[in-house]
Point group: C2
Amino acid sequence: MTIKDIARESGYGVTTVSRVLNGQPKVSEKAREKIMDVVRRTDFHLNSNAKRLKQQSSTGIAVVVKGSKNMLFLSILERLQSLIAETGYAFIINYVDEGADEVTEARRICGELRPEGIIFLGGDHENFKRSFAGIGVPCVLLTSSARELGFPNLSSVTTDDAFAAECAIDHLVALGHRNIGILGGYVESSYPAARRYVGCVRAFERYSISADKSRVVAAKFSLNDGYAAMERLLDKRPDITAVFAMSDVTAIGAIRAIRDRGLRVPEDISVVGFDGIELGAYLTPKLTTVRQDGEAIAARSVRLLLDAIRGEGGSAHEVIPFRFFDGESATRLAEDA
Amino acid sequence: MTIKDIARESGYGVTTVSRVLNGQPKVSEKAREKIMDVVRRTDFHLNSNAKRLKQQSSTGIAVVVKGSKNMLFLSILERLQSLIAETGYAFIINYVDEGADEVTEARRICGELRPEGIIFLGGDHENFKRSFAGIGVPCVLLTSSARELGFPNLSSVTTDDAFAAECAIDHLVALGHRNIGILGGYVESSYPAARRYVGCVRAFERYSISADKSRVVAAKFSLNDGYAAMERLLDKRPDITAVFAMSDVTAIGAIRAIRDRGLRVPEDISVVGFDGIELGAYLTPKLTTVRQDGEAIAARSVRLLLDAIRGEGGSAHEVIPFRFFDGESATRLAEDA
DNA sequence: TTGTACGCGTTATCAA
DNA sequence: TTGATAACGCGTACAA
């Protein structure tokens, strides 16, 4: 069943059928009705491969997700999909492992699927430096600033990670904590993790707290990595009274580890997370955290990408405001501690 | 940049280039090397639109997800994506709201994107009865049996929902509970919810417990719906001592609601969930639940779909075993209660 | 082993 | 307002 069949069936030519199907003007009402009639009767749909081949356009918008355990990504992803669905683009999703090279993967996708644009949900700057030059379509990197990468076709939307982390540490210090552990992402490969670490150090310096490496343990943003990292931290520094986890899932894993050691949260160890996933407010204690505005991040990034696809405006690097959420998982340090 | 350019550049014809690019035999080693050389140098990729147009094939495998709040779906989705990635198909994802018509949506997708097959993650039998006949490609429905729908191109992979729910109730009864509330999905539109309810009733009958409708509250599978449903249940039946929630996220929402009323879990109210999401074991108390084998569900469904796409084997309806996970959120009914 | 030429289904151009 | 026809880039009969 092709446009030719519809043409024959309706008594019109293929051009007219094409016009009707694409809602173009310059078609008589009579022709439109007659053709739509046949189309409906036969449940005909345009072949998008042929259409895109002809129009030199492509499959849709590809999303490359790095690290699927991160619940913030999941909520952003959901938002992205509904925003992209509204535009009529297909939504092609690809998960890559946290250790994988998302940019090389994106190049492969570009070659095979020819997306109009790519959204990177998480990404390693090193990979971008090494391979991004080969990518021609507009891209947006989320939760990691690409400003200093300086690619003309790469925008980014982020939270001010350093400042947000600083706020988290501020909060803990204000509660009397000075012996604070950090469960981080991998600072070398994760730009947000690096920024958050910078924020921590900045706060420590302000309070003249030594930024002791022995209180920092790297962890992927997942429940079990948070758990394992917290165990290591407790082994190395049983004296800590508070922990800042660079993602909420890490924090949740950490809380489980703390409890499995027979300690309480927040009485024995205060925990502050990062992300502000919906789940946090359902936990007991409610997770104290820095809330990234996933909705806004998704909305802005789609906006930037669509503008870039339309050729309007070059690359932009936006910073979305965060909010500190004062939950119950961090409390004042007991006087006698 | 097309294969013509590569042909010209390499001094060979398009056929040879095409053969090399598709790894076909009947090409001299010299030609292969020379051509691959040019391909690499120019970073050339085949145009998938043209390729698929020619091969009458399509975009990839579409996945229609109904109800994105369900964390079990998320883990299945992740698994699906990596399995499908291995096959070389593109992975096209579409979320539809829990109230929406996923089958009509799938028909739209079929028309526009021409996927080779469709995986439905959740779905309403009514929608399938009404509109599925228009879909020609092989499909698999997950977490809801399509056996009685009887479509030749619709397979399904499920858990034995009725039996699993029965086990959950058994567990509660064994702990001494007889006044058990149910936080369910919408029985009219969700087949798994209906099956789970059947299992509950079956268990109640065995123990001569009245299956009182006043102890049943419908809820979508999300945190806030679980919360709201539990509030309604507590209003209607403050005398319940245990709750069976038809999904883990519902259970987590319910636990928050119970605690916000000043009650304890499990001391005052025992809670059993359903799904067995990874998170459950990180909560305090650890969630007692029925664990669906998401990994196996994903693996089997991809297998079934690929077989069907290759024209091997018709529709099949598989049931994946579940395991009861005895956590800490359900405990023995206090004697004096 | 290699090349020529055609057609996949659509849209764009141009003439009617 | 309409229609014939030429691309779009690829795979593949068929010929060499």
